[in-house]
């Protein structure tokens, strides 16, 4: 973990709600950034006090660029959207425990902006010779990132409106998939999606990993603010999303 200054290289809107922020960071930190890890980004704007957590959606070892896909939510993400190229930006990184990259066939299930860390994971799995299928569900075109579909061969898009991929929820995609053909499953998306996925994945015997979100003050294990209930070793405990996660064993997480 380092508290670094990065330089905004590109910051472009993808839709009205989502933008892509690319930041150049010092070379020596790049190898430590793994799929599922995240950064706490400092925001210099009115009223903002805490840093904001964002998952790495990509790292380019050659150019030294890291990529974030960011959904505009409140004052922090609104302010970051305005950062011009060339702007310095302070980030604490890399944080958290990432995904376990495994060989074989992987099913990646993304809801909305949950695609961000899974994009990076998909790239990593593919690089390691694994096979990837992505089920990517979005509410509408405003939440859709077209370049995801172009980056991978097997992406199935579900949208709650017609005209974009199949009409339906990510869950519909999950239900209509023969899960037994996959060696492992990775999830990232809103709580409602994860809750709905629980019963569907109940009998799946392989590894299921999920990247969780929670409100965070520090992002590195100091405040105990990011508690998530986990059932592990036969007892309920609170784990820290920022340090024990954000990636957890899906079966252990109490939603």
């Amino acid at each position: 973990m380092q508290d670094l200054k990065g330089l905004v290289v590109e910051n472009i809107p993808i839709t009205k709600e989502i933008y892509k922020l690319q930041v150049s960071v010092p070379e020596e930190i790049l190898p430590e950034i793994v799929p599922g890890s995240f950064a706490m980004v400092k925001v210099e704007a009115k009223g903002v006090f805490l840093r904001r957590p964002f998952s790495f959606a990509d790292v380019d070892l050659k150019t030294g660029l890291v990529t974030f896909y960011i959904k505009t939510v409140g004052q922090g993400t609104r302010a970051l959207r305005e950062l011009p190229p060339g702007q310095e930006i302070r980030m604490l990184l890399p944080l958290g425990r990432g995904f376990t990259v495994m060989p074989g066939k992987s099913l990646l299930v993304a809801g909305g902006i949950g695609i961000a860390p899974l994009k990076f994971l998909a790239k990593e799995i593919t690089k390691n010779g694994g096979e990837v299928r992505i089920i990517y569900g979005v509410k509408n075109t405003e939440m859709f990132i077209p370049e995801i579909v172009n980056a991978f061969e097997d992406v199935e898009v579900y949208a709650e409106v017609s005209g974009l991929g199949k009409r339906g929820l990510v869950l519909d995609g999950l239900k209509s998939t023969d899960l037994s053909t996959y060696n492992q499953i990775y999830l990232c998306g809103p709580e409602a999606m994860l809750k709905a996925a629980k019963p569907v994945l109940q009998n799946y015997s392989g590894l299921i990993e999920v990247s969780l979100e929670s409100f965070m003050a520090c992002g590195f294990g100091a405040c105990l603010g990011c508690a998530v209930k986990v059932f592990s070793n036969n007892e309920f405990v609170y784990k820290k999303v920022c340090k024990d996660g954000p990636v957890f064993n899906f079966k252990e997480v109490v939603l």
């Binding site: 973990m1 380092q2 508290d3 400092k42 009223g47 903002v48 006090f49 805490l50 840093r51 604490l92 929670s214 409100f215 965070m216 003050a217 520090c218 992002g219 590195f220 294990g221 100091a222 405040c223 105990l224 603010g225 990011c226 508690a227 998530v228 209930k229 405990v237 609170y238 340090k243």
Partner: protein, 307 residues
């Protein structure tokens, strides 16, 4: 130029330390700076038994600050002294153990235990946590309970005894005097302000525990006034805390009457803040040609009667 200050029997090499609960057990910050730089190391509150803490969400942002309802989550004394203490005892010469109890007996139990460990140099009694149903702030707002806890710990504990007060009272000087009279060697002012944030979408309180404690720059003017008022009311040293996010903010506390200061929420925003602050305070003394930081304590009272 000299940053040394005295708190009870301790001489700190500088007056900057973390506020309990905002620095974990220090281990998380080792990547960022050498903890030996700090004036002291104050750990997250330890209770006799382990505590899971409150239901999430536990933290949220507020204007110029944050709110938390961690609920004194900690592994309990036994685990602390077996597993954590050995890891952290060499991080800094001065380790201050912050403790809380649900009863006078629990405070006494922990004090007796702490007394056994040479590496624990002082106790900070947390009678001011707003996030637990038993003890906590209930003790800190009940004058009789406060006196009883402090004096019964004092009987057992011979090293430096610090009492951390809550700002959620009508007149903090009354509590400050009571703690002093009951035997405290120093006071830490202040813990968080009780508050609440409501999520307009769900129409419910954001925090799992509904209310929480507000910290950060938002509470600084209140904290500074409490330090200022207590400086007049007691003669033991005061450790000032509440919204310190810059050298200027820290200086406000010294001028108001603090001998040392603690940094809380700012550790989350800028984990390297404390070493920067120490450097800046040193430079400040140089620029202003002030021989010792202790000379700043209470300077804002100059010209007043009775000081």
């Amino acid at each position: 130029m000299n940053l040394k200050v005295k708190i009870g029997e301790l001489t700190l090499k500088n007056p900057v330390m973390p506020a309990s609960g905002t620095f974990g057990f220090g281990l998380e910050f080792k990547d960022i700076f050498d903890l030996k730089n700090l004036g002291a190391l104050v750990v997250k509150t330890i209770t006799k038994n382990p505590r899971l803490g409150n239901r999430p969400p536990r933290v949220y942002e507020v204007s110029c600050g944050m709110i938390n309802s961690i609920g004194l989550a900690n592994p309990g004394w036994d685990y602390f002294c077996e597993k954590i203490l050995p890891q952290i005892k060499d991080l800094n010469d001065i380790l201050i153990l912050n403790i809380a109890g649900e009863s006078v007996e629990e405070f006494q139990y922990l004090a007796r235990e702490a007394q056994r460990f040479d590496e624990i140099k002082a106790l900070e009694l947390n009678v001011s946590c707003p996030n637990v149903s038993k003890g906590g702030i209930a003790f800190g707002t009940d004058l009789e309970a406060l006196k009883q806890i402090v004096s019964s710990v004092r009987k057992i504990y011979s090293k430096t005894l610090i009492v951390k007060l809550t700002p959620n009272v009508t007149d903090i000087t009354v509590y400050a005097k009571a703690a002093e009279n009951a035997g405290a060697d120093a006071l830490t002012l202040i813990n968080t302000f009780t508050g609440m944030v409501i999520d307009v979408k769900s129409k419910k309180p954001v925090l799992g525990n509904k209310h929480g404690g507000v910290s950060g720059p938002a509470i600084r003017p209140m904290a500074v006034k409490m330090v200022y008022d207590c400086f007049k009311a007691v003669s033991i040293p005061i450790i000032g805390v509440g919204g310190i996010d810059s050298k200027e903010a820290a200086l406000e506390f010294f001028l108001a009457g603090a001998t040392a200061i603690q940094v809380g929420s700012q550790n989350f925003v800028e984990p390297g803040f404390m070493p920067r602050l120490i450097r800046e305070l040193e430079e400040y003394l140089q620029e202003e040609n002030i021989e010792s930081i202790a000379k700043l304590t209470g300077l804002a009272h100059r010209g007043e009667e009775n000081v």
